[in-house]
Amino acid sequence: MYARVMERITDVAIAGVLWGFRIAVVLLVVVGSALTLGGGRHSAESWLSLIVSGAVLGSIYALIALGYTMVYGILRLINFAHGEIFMAGTFGGYFVATALSGIGFLNLNPITSIISVVLMMAGAIVVSVTLALLVERIAYRPLRNAPRLVPLISAIGASFFLQYTFRGFFGPGIYAYPTVGILDAQVPLGIEGFRVKWIDVLVIVSAVVMMAGLFLFVQRTKLGTSIRAVSEDKATAALMGIDVNRAIVMTFAIGAAMAGAAGVLYGLIFRQVYFFTGFVPGIKAFTAAVLGGIGNIPGAMLGGIFLGQVEGVGPTLFLSGLGVPSPNQLRDVIAFTMLVLVLIFRPSGILGERVAQRA
């Protein structure tokens, strides 16, 4: 009896704390936003800039998040090495870019620039996919039937191994992408105080195109359907004549290709690449995948875009009105708070019903 009562009290207390937390966050967001918007310190143009930069960041997160979510969907494995696959792609693109820049092809004229970007993407995708397949073959496949924690630890090991292998080969220093002139130019919008570069357009457009392509592939083609079938039930898929290993390898390859392409886009915007480049985008993209509902492909896309906006606009919108000094330092805090909120109130993520149903 006593234990029952105590349990009840504990339950109520926990629920109360969670509700309090929920209300506090909503209040913070609403009051903060109202004060910021009411304060009027930021012009419409600067909001637009923040939204665009959030969209650019979000597109990159989304592309990386797809790799996490697809591998999770098919193997129930969080592929912690995925951030490094992205980093490897960034490096791959870098080497192609410097080679093309070295022979003067990169900025010869707009057409060679476009060809160069395509070649960079191709190089990055080759590097990323090769590496991802090696990791799958060496670090994950032998552990396919081991308890779930074992491949997870192997994934963390693979992540460190790749990071420090790259450090061994290329040193701790920073490599910088050469500037692609046409992408660095501004889109002539004619709005005073608001600038968009062609690279921003390229990132958003290519992310959308790739995600749409992936969605169609998974939904409409036989191979894509077989990936979905394998992620639902490997044994039955094998009984249907589906080569389960091939479907898994294909999943890794697609995820890696997206990460490799994201790597080039990242390099073209942020310019810097070194052995540690994959770490933070990797964690953020993983967060995006969880936000959207891990295992769910549209969820990863949505989670990425959402996280990008939260990071781009969030600190200014929620915090600057409350008088928080230098709110952008708290960008990660906001991003991870969002993760905590989702984990508490909707553990399956924004689009996660299907995952919950399956579990």
Binding site: S49, A176, Q186, F276, T316, Q329, R331, F336, L343
Partner: protein, 442 residues
Amino acid sequence: MRNTLRWSAVLTGMLLVLAACQPASSGSPGQSTAESASAAASVDAAAVCAADEAGCVEIPSGEPLHIVFWGVLSGADSTLGEDSKRGVEIAIDDINNTLLGHDIQFSTEDGLCTPEGGNTAAQKLAADTTIAGLIGPSCTDESLGGMQTLYDAGMTTISSSATRAGLTVPDRPAEYAAFLRTAHSDYFQGRMVAEYLYNELGLKKLATVHDGSGYAKALAEVARTHFEELGGTITTGGDQAIAKTDTDMSAVLTAIAADPPDAIFFPVFIAGAGYLTDQAKDTPGLEDALLMSADGTFSPDYIKAAGPAALGHLISSPDTSKFAAGYQDFLAKHKAKYGGDPLSIFHAHAYDAATLVFAALEKVALTDADGTTFIPRTAYREALYASKDVEGLTGPLNCNASGDCGAPILAVYKVTAREVGPPVVWPPEAPIWAPEPDFYTK
């Protein structure tokens, strides 16, 4: 079971949030314990060790003498630690790998440039009783995290690149007796930046950006405070901060652009400074703002990181042109050993730190009949504080009671087309401005 999983996931998330919050660092007042050095020369080793509060490091005959460099050797800022580590390695080469009749065993400990990493590293170091000499750490944050542990273990470290002013002020906390440095204090660096911008260039409005690290935060503050003392103003929203992991700086830059400053000083590390420089040129309202960063970015990597936007960028840093004559030799050795130019600016300071360590060890070491060498720890610390007129690469080294050993020789550099390349050429040929010598004594 599922509930447990869910809660552990929530906890993990919260930890991530906590990790993302930079801990505020503060120092409490204390007193210095530097006493007059007393090198016990020919006294019986056992008696000396018994008398020394912290005991002795024992190095049996034939065993190597252990020297450790600790600092940031992995992650985003690892060029800083790598650069200093190379300085120490060359210093060890220069004494032919032997000291006090022992071979030198050199090892490193990674402090990650964070307070937590510094603390972990310090605990490992404190547990290793073979360590005779300690050089490091790289970052202010590592010092903040690790000093108490080292102090409690009776150890003493000498840093080549932790520059926060508070680390060597006369009223620093007691445990900072374990800390000396050959690097300059940011008290001078911050003031020099303010004087250059206000007095020399005649700029009136300043904004600063830090990255939450103990180093950047304090240096930005010194610069802001002195700029205001001189008569300048800090713009509205002119005290901004980024996270060390940020790549997209547009929000911060947009916030600064709301009240455009004449100059933005961002004493952050290489990656962040690169992003800020590159993205500032695309921020409406900041086209004409002068951009300046500090010694943490005095590296070819910064130029690579910032790209063409680095042209015209200003960097405050030690003045290599005023280094001692031996510096050119050092650069040649560096090139021969590592096949390239230094990665950052503190290799010479690290070399000098190692020189001080060797000299102090030689001063206090005792050897008994069977060839065992003893280093009394407290006496070693006192010997370091007593270092006077040691010839260093950065100039004469004189340690004072609050732990400053190097003379600050700072200057302002401007990045020109020569450095931007491609290919990137480093370092710049000469600084464009240096304060009058009496600046350091005012």
